[in-house]
């Protein structure tokens, strides 16, 4: 009887497959989850029963499973997450946890006693975010492990990625979830094994593309949204309602519930867009929805199609602001709660960034724990391109008459302005970045060198790199090396050996190195050649030019120096007083080079990297030289400063 019950229970996923979103699965669907959960707004808990399955796609039997229990990061102040200082509870009520009260396999074996916590990253015995389950029998290649469990998730407060505040619930990273079992060869791995990292302050995601059948019971007056497609919503007649969602080929499932949500719907081609916001957020709903459409349009054209027919995004209210700026593929959160001034495109920027994760982490499911640059850096690069493309005529963040700021420059400024920019390479696991450099390195430095790569190989080739990356790796798990291999293939195909046999020299410096890039104009001279005298072949020679100006000869000389350790090919634009311009190319490897121009013309201007391709250059002020410096801008700024001071003095004196 018990066995029959389990057979029925485990056949439920197959029954629900009848309501599939995609006729042909987009991914291998190594894992799947069927969850029936109930939200108790008073105890701030979500209790549920879950059937989870995992397919052994390796060539070896697997005798244990590993699961993420993310909410346990909030269970004490000794977890690796809380100990980092990133979070502390709002009183004793604020602690969160996830507890499994019953765990059984498909054969009805009780596995509850074979569960134990491990801490593969830092050995912290107080960290209970990774659960290992020793199985009664190994799972053979091609076989499926099915687990049934009862769990209780207590949400934490304040919200950091997940949690509650009063009646606002952002339910993310809330259920026991499989790690990724990596066969040898996958992501250059040498031997088979689980890849299941602890919950760290700086990264969140690495998971298989999965199928989710989720039903939640919530109070009737709550409005809910999730990363799934809404299948059914029914009133239970007891003051609660049950909502059923299904999601396919996404790496995580999150949902939210709040009585105050306002719902805005829209459509982009075949994608239904749902925007959940607050009363105040309604004011900028059009901006927010347009931002998502821009993201869809831009990435669809340059990377690959957005495959899901649905997308939900949320601008959390002030009380839920801790949930802002998070991504769960088909549901993500913006930020600002409608409070950010409209001239500052921060809300749109966050929306586009978090949407972009549907591609960079969602579709191209890299390992954010181990290679955060491949997730956050690549996504930031695209976010900056989108924001600067659609807003502010190239200055996407701020474009006012007196000040302008591009999104790409904001990232670059963060990188070049950091005193720790050389403290580590760009290829560390997220939890190992020293001195608070995680954000700067994985987001901003990576985005900046991606812009530089684009500058070197052209925008068209860069787009083709990502199209190829998408084609090869969509709904799989690419590594950084896989990305580099794609770059090498596409660049070789489009540019031959213009950049050498491959682009590894570039990645060795920007990704695996710590040097900075800085080229400067070290000096310009226009030496007048008034005469020539000396001994040539034993004869005394004297040659004198006339004094007429038109006949004056010059030896114009331009000196360029490489100040930093990074070596990149650069262009130098040299302008002359007669209007001539020469674009010089230099491989940038030596410490210096000189360009000489004998003749009747004088050099008036020199500009290194005139098209601003090398965003990595940490100082662009020394990239140029003019013989006639003008400072109208500084004059204007000082005039404004004088006037502002005068007015302030008159204001503060009654």
């Amino acid at each position: 009887m018990r066995r029959l019950l389990f057979i029925f229970m485990f056949s439920m996923p197959l029954l629900l497959q009848g309501q599939a979103i995609f006729d042909i699965p987009l991914s291998e669907r190594t894992t799947g989850y069927d969850i029936a959960a109930v939200l108790d707004p008073d105890s701030k808990t979500v209790t549920g029963e879950m059937t989870a399955w995992w397919v052994n796609r390796s060539a070896m039997p697997v005798d244990h499973a590993m699961l993420h229990l993310y909410l346990n990061a909030f269970s004490s102040n000794k977890s690796s997450f809380a100990a980092s200082g990133r979070w502390s509870p709002a009183g004793d009520e604020g602690y969160g946890y996830v507890r499994i009260s019953r765990l059984m396999d498909a054969s009805g074996n009780d596995l509850t006693r074979s569960m134990h916590f491990v801490a593969p990253d830092d050995g912290n015995i107080n960290d209970r975010t990774v659960l290992q389950i020793d199985l009664t029998a190994p799972i053979n290649p091609g076989d499926t492990l099915k687990l049934n469990m009862l769990f209780e998730s207590k949400l934490p407060s304040p919200i950091v990625r997940t949690g509650y505040n009063k009646d606002y619930f952002w339910v993310a990273q809330w259920f026991p979830k499989f790690g990724v079992y990596e066969p040898a060869g996958m992501r250059q791995r040498e031997s088979d094994g689980w890849n299941c990292h602890q919950f760290h302050p700086n990264s969140e995601f690495y998971a298989n593309h999965s199928v989710y059948n989720v039903s939640v019971t919530i109070p009737s007056d709550y409005i809910a949204g999730s990363g799934g497609l809404l299948l059914e919503e029914m009133d239970n007649g007891d003051g609660t309602k049950k909502i059923k969602w299904r999601a396919e080929d996404i790496v995580d499932f999150a949902w939210t519930a709040w009585p105050g949500y306002k719902v805005v719907t829209d459509k982009w081609r075949g994608v239904d867009i749902t925007f959940l916001t607050s009363e105040r957020g309604l004011k900028i709903a059009d901006n927010q929805v347009n931002a998502v459409k821009y993201g869809l349009e831009y990435l669809d054209a340059r990377v690959g199609p957005y495959p899901w027919p649905h997308l939900t995004f949320v601008d959390p209210p002030v009380e839920g602001s801790g949930a802002g700026g998070m991504e769960y593929t088909t549901i993500f959160t913006s930020a600002g709660s409608g409070l950010v001034p409209s001239f500052l495109r921060m809300a749109e920027m966050v929306t586009i960034h978090e949407f972009g994760h549907a591609y960079f982490m969602g579709i191209l499911a890299s390992n954010e724990f181990e290679e955060p640059w491949l997730d956050e850096g690549v996504n930031s690069y695209w976010e900056e391109r989108i924001v600067d493309h659609y807003y502010g005529d190239g200055y996407g963040l701020i474009r006012l008459p007196f000040i302008k700021f591009s999104d790409a420059d904001m990232a670059r400024t963060s990188y070049i302005g950091s005193p720790s920019r050389q403290a580590a390479t760009n290829n560390l696991p997220s939890w190992l970045y020293p001195h608070g450099t995680y954000g700067m390195m994985s987001y901003q430095k990576a985005a900046t060198w991606l812009h530089t790569l684009e500058g070197l190989i052209t925008t068209e080739t860069m787009d083709n790199v990502f199209r190829e990356f998408y084609r090869k790796w969509a709904f799989r798990h690419p590594s950084g090396k896989d990305f580099i291999e794609t770059v090498n293939d596409v660049v070789r195909r489009e540019h031959g050996e213009k950049f050498g046999k491959d682009m590894n020299w570039f990645f060795d410096q920007v990704l695996y190195g710590t040097e900075v890039c800085d080229y400067r104009v070290s000096g310009v001279s226009n030496r007048k050649i008034t005469g020539y005298s000396g001994i040539v072949d034993g004869d005394s020679v004297t040659f004198t030019r006339s004094d007429r100006k038109s006949d004056t000869l010059y030896l114009a000389k331009v000196g360029i120096e490489r100040m930093g350790g990074m070596k990149l090919p650069i262009e130098v634009l040299v302008s002359f007083d007669n209007g001539d311009e020469i674009l010089e190319e230099w491989d940038g490897t030596a410490r210096f080079t000189d360009f000489e121009y004998p003749g009747t013309r004088k050099v008036t201007r020199v500009t290194i990297d005139p098209d601003s391709k090398i965003d990595l250059d940490v100082n662009r002020i020394n990239n140029s030289w003019t013989d006639d410096p003008e400072f109208p801008a500084s004059g204007r700024m000082m005039t404004k400063y004088v006037f502002l001071m005068q007015m302030l003095i008159s204001l503060f004196t009654i």
């Binding site: 105040r280 209210p317 002030v318 009380e319 409070l339 200055y395 701020i398 006012l400 008459p401 007196f402 000040i403 302008k404 700021f405 591009s406 420059d409 904001m410 670059r412 400024t413 963060s414 070049i416 302005g417 201007r605 500009t607 940490v618 100082n619 662009r620 002020i621 020394n622 990239n623 140029s624 030289w625 003019t626 013989d627 410096p629 003008e630 400072f631 109208p632 801008a633 500084s634 004059g635 204007r636 700024m637 000082m638 005039t639 404004k640 400063y641 004088v642 006037f643 502002l644 001071m645 005068q646 007015m647 302030l648 003095i649 008159s650 204001l651 503060f652 004196t653 009654i654």
Partner: protein, 285 residues
């Protein structure tokens, strides 16, 4: 009828004091330039012969801040600290000049040359300074009480959820309605000190409050008018200066002249307020 006549007489008195206003302007300009010119030199030093300044032609490119490195921080620090010093020095300077202006509008109508103006300013300086400090403190307290406390409480209780709503306008309206009262008390007190030659600030404040009670509606409505004109002018002038982006040398010089003209007008409006309150006091007497 009185309302317009008083405002008109105040305006005439201020306009005929143009020499004194020009002295105030010139002194203030020189003082501000003492800080601004070195800042400009630092900026020139940072950019030297670079073409990067072209990135500032149609508005400051904030991306330059990163390229400027530590220089940017130093520049902002110097501009901020210099600005703070200027505000403090300016407070002293304009308090000094207020003594001369009130003498001009109270006892030496039409008969105060620059030298006498300076003498009168010097004579009144200390009591005027004490009074200005006291009234500034009162106005700060008023601002904190009417705006700071309610906004703080509401923000804490609602966790910011009603910030920015129209409800939050109420404290600002109450604050604005109260401001003309404090300005009237201050100006009446100063006028009393200028008229009597007394340096007793608490007696002056007493006289200020007493003068406020006499013909309150007339005084208040006149001051509200002046307050609104001043606020609107202040906002408009800053708006014009902020959003003007002249790109070439000649235009920038014109821009400089225009901003100075605006500042002279601002000084005129202040003098108009002083003169009008002096006129009010004359009528009340």
């Amino acid at each position: 009828m009185d309302y317009f006549r008083i405002l008109k007489r105040g305006a005439v008195a201020a306009a005929t004091s143009y020499r004194l206003i020009l002295v105030m302007w010139l002194t203030a300009l020189m003082m501000v330039l003492l800080v601004a010119l070195p800042l400009k030199s630092i900026l020139k030093g940072v950019f030297d012969r670079s073409l990067a300044t072209e990135r500032m032609l149609d508005g400051f490119d904030a991306g330059l801040a990163g390229d400027m490195g530590q220089s940017f921080g130093y520049l902002i620090g110097a501009a901020s600290f210099g600005g703070l010093l200027l505000i403090l020095a300016g407070f002293l300077l304009f308090t000094f000049f207020a003594g001369g202006l009130f003498t001009r509008f109270t006892i030496a109508w039409g008969d105060l040359n620059v030298a006498s103006f300076m003498k009168a300013s010097a004579r009144n300086f200390l009591p005027f300074l004490m009074l200005a400090l006291l009234m500034t403190l009162i106005i700060f307290a008023w601002t904190a009480l009417i705006i700071g406390v309610p906004v703080g409480i509401v923000a804490a209780v609602t966790e910011g959820s009603i910030m920015g709503s129209r409800l939050m306008l109420i404290p600002f309206i109450i604050w604005a309605l109260g401001m003309p009262v404090w300005l009237l008390v201050t100006d009446h007190s100063r006028r009393w000190m200028a008229a009597t030659g007394s340096g007793k600030i608490f007696r002056a404040m007493g006289a200020g409050f007493k003068a406020l009670r006499r013909g309150f509606l007339r005084s208040y409505s006149t001051m509200v008018t002046l307050f609104i004109v001043n606020v609107l002018f202040f906002g408009a002038a800053l708006w014009i200066a902020t959003f003007s982006v002249p790109e070439r040398g000649g235009l920038i010089f014109l821009f400089f002249l225009a901003t100075q003209a605006l500042f002279i007008l601002r000084l005129f409006l202040k003098a108009w307020r002083y003169a009008t309150v002096s006129e009010l006091a004359l009528i009340q007497a």
